[in-house]
Amino acid sequence: MKLSEVIKQFHCHVYTPEFAIDKEINYAFCADLMSDALMVLNSVKDDRILKESILITGLTTNQSIRTAEMLDMEVVLLVRGKIPSLKVIELAKELNIILLSTDYTMFNTSGIMYQDGIKGIIYNQQW
């Protein structure tokens, strides 16, 4: 699925319009506590998986962006209508991370994405 389709599907606000949104998205992971994301996503066996992933979170602080940076993820989607501060948007731009938000809840976002064929990342995920 193209990221542009995700943006359309979830009526996303795009906070980093300078970055291209035609990339392919095949995986996603949800977490509000970043250690949980680091633990699972760090076990992934192929870097292509994280390149084609979305980090879905309700955490609007710098740390969601930092976590994506540590994992080489390129897209962060804020759920439940959360609005990031300017400093968070600036950090995302500095690190070339696409920052989006949607009014959908985390559960509904995940459910719809799963239905659309986006896979959830599990421990030791293989390509």
Binding site: L33, S35, T61, Q63, E69, D72
Partner: protein, 138 residues
């Protein structure tokens, strides 16, 4: 190559800047993706621990032909029970830490899982986390 970073307690905005610089350094050297990922995850966890649990400290990064070594030092108050702290999910983090996305109780277990060698020393005067990542895994 040796680098040193100051880590400020409770500064959630700056938390992660040391690990970010370490990542940039490793990427610029074209080291293997898996190694970079392991170093960065452990470094980030250790850095966050100093931010949320201590009164402040510093980190050192040392890159040699054989290994990458990270040391995190803080000035206390130390880990009261290391055995409990090593359990996945055990956390003494506060509500404020949770609001900042920390305190899952996975910090030390994550470091142990990511590093090839981990040593932890702690008393009321401070904590020292020593992490080694071999460039060609043993």
């Amino acid at each position: 190559m040796v680098k040193e970073y100051q880590i400020i307690a409770r500064n959630y905005d700056l938390a992660g800047h040391a690990s970010s610089d370490i990542k940039r350094t490793l990427k610029s050297l074209n080291l293997p993706w898996d190694l970079i990922k392991r170093v960065c995850a452990a470094s980030y966890e250790a850095e966050i621990n100093v931010v949320i649990h201590s009164v402040g400290g510093y980190a050192t990064f040392d890159l040699t032909e054989d290994a990458i070594t990270l040391d995190f030092y803080d000035d206390g108050p130390g880990i009261p029970n290391i055995e409990l702290a090593m359990l996945e999910g055990f956390s003494t983090a506060t509500e404020l830490d949770h609001a900042n996305g920390f305190g899952a109780g996975m910090g030390l277990p994550n470091m142990k899982r990511s590093a090839d060698l981990m040593e932890l020393k702690s008393d009321i005067y401070g904590t020292h986390v020593h992490l080694v990542f071999f460039r060609s895994r043993l």
